[in-house]
């Protein structure tokens, strides 16, 4: 072995620790990217789930004018009940913020229940195909609201679990991924007073 060759080998060996350090840095960088992207996805899912609740509430509100018209045709003199539903619906459409919204939705559910109770006294109305369809649509739209809230809470749970566990908590701390709040209130998930038929 020539001394020249030895010198070359020695120079090469000196680079090895540097390469290892570089490798570790790259690896940490890759892990970091994955964790960060995962957090962003989880956070966006929460926002999406939240807007999904609004979409479902909107859907519910849109059904009501049609329902009121149908009932009017058969039970016009139940004005008080009908007006209560319309008023509650308008309140619900205008409600701002989760708390007020939850409250208004509860009032609306109560008014609707009243309306369907009244409808029991009108056999013609109860046999009306349009009315039956609306009943089905309203029931399922209440389910959907409940499910959308449930999915929102599930998404929050997943996200909160993530940002509290290692190693995502480090990344979350650095970039200000804050914990999210659950949707709470009397009417979470299954507690939504279902319109019973």
């Amino acid at each position: 072995m020539s001394p020249d060759f030895r010198r070359r080998v020695r120079r090469l060996l000196a680079v090895v620790p540097l390469l290892i350090i570089l490798g570790i840095i790259v690896l940490v960088g890759i892990i970091f990217v994955f964790v960060y992207n995962g957090l962003v996805q989880a956070r966006n899912r929460i926002d999406n789930a939240w807007s999904q609740i609004d979409v479902q509430l909107q859907r519910r509100h849109d059904l009501i004018p049609n329902l009121v018209e149908t009932v009017k045709g058969y039970a016009a003199h139940e004005r008080q009940t009908l007006e209560a539903v319309v008023a509650a619906r308008n309140q619900a459409v205008q409600a701002q913020g989760p708390a007020a919204q939850g409250q208004a939705e509860n009032v609306l559910t109560g008014a609707l229940r009243q309306l369907f109770a009244v409808a029991e006294a009108y056999p013609d109305l109860k046999a009306n195909q349009n009315f039956l369809n609306l009943q089905e649509e309203l029931t399922s739209s209440e389910d959907r609201v409940a499910y959308a809230r449930q999915f929102y809470n599930d998404s929050v749970l997943k996200y909160n679990n993530k940002i509290q566990s290692i190693p995502a908590n480090l990344v979350a701390g650095m970039f200000g991924f804050a914990e999210r709040e659950y949707f709470e209130g009397e009417d979470t998930a299954r507690d939504v007073p279902n319109v019973q038929f």
């Binding site: 089905e136 029931t139 399922s140 499910y147 999915f151």
Partner: protein, 300 residues
Amino acid sequence: MYEQISSNKRRSALLILGFALLVALIVVAINFLIGGGVVGFVLAAAIAIALSFGSYYNSDKVALSMSKAQPADPHTYARLHNLVEGLTIASGLPKPRLYVIQDDAPNAFATGRNPKHAAIAVTTGLLEKMNRVELEGVLAHELSHIKNYDVLVMTLAVTMVGIIALISDFFLRFMFWGGGRRNNDQGNNPFGIVLALLGVVLLIFGPIIASVMKFAVSRQREYLADSTGVSLTRYPPGLISALKKLKEDSTVIRSASKATAHLWIEEPLDTETQKVGVRVNRLFASHPPLDERIAALEAM
């Protein structure tokens, strides 16, 4: 849960691989018996690969047409569509295609290769006999099969068992009627005779091996789908009452065969009565007894 899903994906990959191998072996066996040479081998590999891919992409269509399922009209079956839409909101899954089977026996199954290409089929009997909450429980169970990737494993099994049975059946008949032209060298070569014998054995046992693979779909997947389903509806009484109704109902579904048995929510074949054939059915039951599933749900 996530471990279950990735284990299901692994299981599907293994199933496809095992299936490709089995088909290749069978075709190689046929090749030896009728003497095809190198071309035959290439052909065998090509057929195995094509069938594997084919079954991956078309498995749901096979299962649906085998049970004579028709697409569910959103207007006529509004409740079905509404319930499934609600559940997809709860689970964050895309909405599967919905099918209806004209049959008085209450039953349902899910199929597809992933949540984006999934379908749920229910019988008209199920729609008639279940109330809203019970129907929702059943649909949540089926949607859970999709969410947990059980559908992929289950549906692949259906297709593969069918194809393998078909191939071996066809060639056994072919050989029986003396359709093969035998290679002269092979007759004198003891190695060739052994291979030929192995080939015949493989042709006969191929379908049996295929059904054993079907048991990769274990009964515990039903328990898992029950519990995932309840985690969607958050209402165990719905599914419990649905399962009780299924238990009391004795109608046996017409369009179910042994090949599709493990797809359904309830064992579609008769396992209750005491006839000889029925006892064999029970031995190979694809589902745990309803009583045990109900008990597991009530314990939640």
